[in-house]
């Protein structure tokens, strides 16, 4: 029996040695292979709706670049032969992370080490971006994150490889405080879901309101998965606020609007996040969307380079009509464009140089201006240039010719009311009632 | 035989020498009185039988003694100590083991594992002890079979020796001879006698088979509608009028 054990131990040793000696054989590289850019998105699970939009945008960008060598509005980047650089096409590898942070981490390992992607895009939702930031940092992979707005991801972490392409949450409710102060509002109520993104959003909103001298009389969190909003809204309305700010996701905005309608809630202005800007919102609540405000991060009517062309391309490639456009799609497109600019600027797939460019460049994309804090800043990678918009659903005016990028659902038009220089309409204040 | 110097007027041993004493126990289920002021005592090293028609409260009495039910009134003493309020497992650990009317071995465990369940955690050679007991029960060959696959008789033996695994001194057997063939019955009774005579174990058995009761018990107690109606040697009980009336409806 002792000898048997000896044999087993020897066997173990042989296997171990073999395992360590055998090198991980890499296949020979082909010369013209696509430039691979990877990302994981929430294609199933609770964030899947937004994940799908993000994916659309990425695919539109990929198609455009592979067709003609540049995407809408970026002719100035040069390289007009098909492909990103050197005639190499782009291949965006998209995996589904099931809206689960751990799966996201696993997938970024896969993208970087197994698929050997050249560059990365960030995932959707702040929670998953928080989880994967460590991975891309460790593998030193330049990453354009355009689906995570929580400043906490960058704040104080001195990230070296991941940049924020979209606005941070501080930019989500621009001008509400300003408009409200102008209209003489005194009090505000805030209701928000108790998860990372709404919390950080509402904290900054609260600061903006207080800075304008508006008192926040109620700030209440609700847990995820609530179904009936009437009680919480009744409570909020009992405080008689002039401004009602609501932070949550898509289903919440429908439920809360319906509750507000049922309660005939009376306030100066209602501001919602995420859900209320979407066409499906208007379909679901109908006329109750009248004068509802929502943050918007991008609109088709903006005067950014290539915006009109981008709208056409999305219609052609992703089948999304301009009047039903949604800024979440533009997230993906933005991520693509940022990489495109950086890669073309560097002229090669040189990770470090691309990273440096991403951190240094100051450009205009379809999405708008882009600039992040430099590498030596404690909050490096944090977006500073991109500004948010405020939109309001207003009735369609008879005899008015709307520009092609304007979102029109039935009788309702999505009008930009802030910043004033971009506004397409005057804000409706106070809320006109429910009849 | 019953009367001797150190017994009280009711015939029970004085100075707590009865291994098990039930004093004036009453147990009610709603309006049904399952046990009404029952007092019995069991002597060490003897086989005591418990008889009575269906619904007389025999199993309830067992359940009260082993702590499955708590008596509404009255007390149960084991070796002079009050065990009325103890939990079933504590009573078992004091040394009272029982079997059930419906066999309650663990069918999805092997025979050996069934015995191991009853082993004391601190006991070093529990395995050897289990094998010894299996030998006693004639089940060594079946030690790795699932208990559910054994014959009824074998299951009864298993249930019996499982009690021995934790060294119970008093064994309450509920219908040990029911549902098994005569050969096994004889073997079981022989085992009981052996344990009684050689190891000084005490048995308290519920039995319907009068032959078993009359031929093997030292003392018999008869219950009817929750009340003790007779007590004494098998012969005395057999000739007791009340018992006859209960059994033969005369």
């Amino acid at each position: 029996m002792k000898k048997v054990k000896l044999v087993l131990v020897l066997g173990l040793a042989v296997v171990l040695v073999a395992a360590f000696v055998l090198p991980g054989c890499a296949p020979p590289k082909e010369e013209v292979e696509p430039i691979k850019i990877g990302c994981s998105l929430a294609l199933t699970g609770k964030y899947s709706w937004t994940g799908e939009r993000y994916k659309e945008g990425l695919l539109v960008w990929q198609t455009q670049v592979n067709e003609r060598g540049y995407s809408s509005g970026l002719e100035w980047c040069g390289h007009t032969e098909p492909g990103l650089i050197d005639g190499r096409p782009v291949e965006v590898i998209i995996y589904d992370d099931k809206s689960d942070p751990a799966t996201g981490v696993k997938l970024y390992h896969k993208l970087i080490t197994e698929d050997k992607v050249d560059l990365c895009f960030g995932p959707y939702s702040s929670a998953i971006a928080k989880a994967i930031s460590t991975v891309v940092e460790r593998y030193e992979m330049p990453t354009a994150s355009c689906g995570a707005s929580d400043p906490g991801i960058w704040g104080g972490n001195n990230l070296q490889w991941m940049v924020q392409g979209m606005q941070p949450t501080d930019e989500y409710f621009p001008g509400v405080a300003d408009i409200a102060a102008k209209m003489g509002a005194k009090t505000a109520a805030i209701i928000h879901e108790d998860t990372a993104f709404p919390i950080s959003l509402m904290n900054s909103f609260r600061g903006q309101l207080e800075a304008k001298g508006i008192e926040v009389v109620l700030c209440e969190a609700y847990p995820k998965g609530i179904t009936d909003w009437t009680p919480i809204l009744t409570k909020a309305m009992a405080a008689k606020p002039d401004v009602v700010g609501i932070g949550g996701y898509e289903p919440d905005s429908i439920g809360l609007t319906k509750a507000a309608q049922a309660l005939k809630a009376d306030a100066g202005i209602f501001v919602w996040t995420v859900g209320a800007g979407a066409p499906t919102y208007v379909e679901a609540v109908g006329d109750a969307c009248y004068a509802m405000c929502c943050e918007s991060l991008w609109e088709g009517i903006l005067d950014t380079p290539g915006n009109e062309e981008y709208l056409e391309a999305t219609y052609r490639i992703a089948g999304l009509p301009p009047e039903k456009h949604e800024y979440h799609t533009t997230f993906g497109y933005l991520a693509g464009q940022l990489m495109e600019i950086a890669v073309k600027e560097v002229g090669a797939i040189d990770k470090e140089a691309i990273r440096d460019t991403l951190f240094e460049m100051e450009v205009e994309t379809v999405y708008g201006p882009y600039k992040v804090l430099p590498l030596d800043s404690p909050d490096s990678g944090f977006q500073t240039a991109s500004k948010g918009l405020l939109i309001q659903w207003q009735p369609k005016k008879v005899g008015v010719e709307y520009p092609p990028g304007q979102v029109i659902i039935g009788d309702w038009v999505k009008e930009v009311i802030y910043p004033y220089e971009l506004a397409t309409a005057e804000p409706i204040w106070p809320h006109p009632g429910w009849d | 035989m019953m009367i001797s110097v150190d017994r009280d007027e009711e015939g029970r041993l004085k100075d707590g020498k009865n291994v098990l004493e039930v004093q004036n126990v009453t147990k009610e289920f709603g309006s049904l009185v399952a046990l009404n002021n029952v007092s019995i005592w069991i002597e060490e090293g003897k086989i005591t039988g418990l008889i009575g028609p269906n619904g007389a409260g025999k199993t309830t009495l067992f359940n009260v003694i082993t702590g499955q039910f708590r008596a509404d009134k009255g007390k149960v003493f084991f070796r002079g100590k009050d065990i009325t309020k103890l939990k079933p497992y504590q009573i078992a650990r004091r040394g009272i083991g029982r079997t059930w009317q419906v066999i309650r071995i663990f069918p999805n465990m092997t025979v050996l594992e069934n015995l191991m369940t009853a082993a004391n955690l601190r006991e070093r050679n529990a395995g050897e002890k289990a094998l010894e007991l299996l030998e006693l029960a004639g089940l060594v060959a079946e030690k790795d079979s699932y208990a559910g696959e054994l014959s009824t008789g074998q299951q009864k033996f298993l249930e019996l020796v499982r009690i021995l695994m934790f060294d119970a001194d008093v064994m309450l057997l509920d219908e040990v001879a029911a549902g098994i063939n005569p050969t096994e019955q004889l073997a079981a009774l022989e085992l009981i006698h052996n344990l009684c005579d050689q190891k000084g174990k005490t048995f308290f058995i519920v039995e319907h088979d009068m032959d078993v009761i009359m031929g093997h018990c030292d003392k018999v107690i008869c219950l009817n509608f929750g009340e003790k109606i007779a007590e004494g040697t098998p012969k005395e009980v057999q000739n007791n009028e009340k018992v006859i009336r209960v059994y033969f409806g005369a």
Binding site: D100, H109, K130 | T66, Q68, R104, F106
Partner: protein
Amino acid sequence: MNKSDKLRLAEKFKTDKRLWLYAIAVIVVALLIALPRIVSPYLCSVVFLMFIYIAYAEAWNIMTGFTGYINFGFSVFAGIGGYASAILIIDHGIWWPVGWLLGGVFASIGALILGSFMLRLRGSYFAIGMLCLLLAAPVLATTEYLIPLTHGGYGFQFVQPVSDLTMYYSAFFISAATVFVAYKIITSSFGAKLLAIREDEEGAGSIGINTTKEKISAFAISGFFAGLAASVFFAFQNYIDPSSAFSAWYNSLPIIMVLLGGIGTLWGPVVGAVIMTFVEEFFWSVLPETYFMACGAVIVLLVLLLPGGIITWFKSRGILPRTRAI
């Protein structure tokens, strides 16, 4: 080694099938130890998760498979462990191995406290009660009383000072330890007592088993390994928030795995975890859009076709010995 020795050895292998099993086991263990040197870090992270799954599944099995108390609130203990270790290591600067261990200890204490009143419930009551606990846990973590500790719904982003390789070996060690402890339990009289509780709790009491104590011990052991594995899992995830800590999906996963492998057996959870890891990987790469759906379908088919799990099926066919240990 001379010729006759070799001959004897060959005979030995022929006659004793278990020796082959040992040989295979040794090779598998060696491969797993060497894996980070052979394959890509991605595959390693898959195997890493597999180890975590094994530990989860075996820990769940210790509770439910052995005692029969259906624990639908497994994530509660994983969440407690994950939170405890993250808070201790990051906010209080405790050395990470100690932090992980304490994660397990806290989960174990949680299991002890929760168990001491939840385990009074039986059958469906216990199952639903645990489910309600799972439902309450993430909300409790966001109440104002716990926010200073848990950082609330905002989540808690951290980087533990541990390399991927360390995490891989730690997970390997933890899963091995869990299986080893499960083996020790199932071959001891403690294990026999737990099985007795599963079979017939009242009957178990009548043969001197302190059922309350035994099942709470099982609960605490199960909680310890759940918390320990979760500590490493959340170190891998670098992030913890109430919804991922008390996740419904990671609550269900061990249940599926154990059922797939064979509930109440030692190797069932391991087999189930290994298979599920690769089934998930396979469906995920072949059917990116519908693989969740496919997973659901696989579960349904498994229950209908293999209700006892793989190990039990092999046992009933006589392919595997029936002793508990295998």
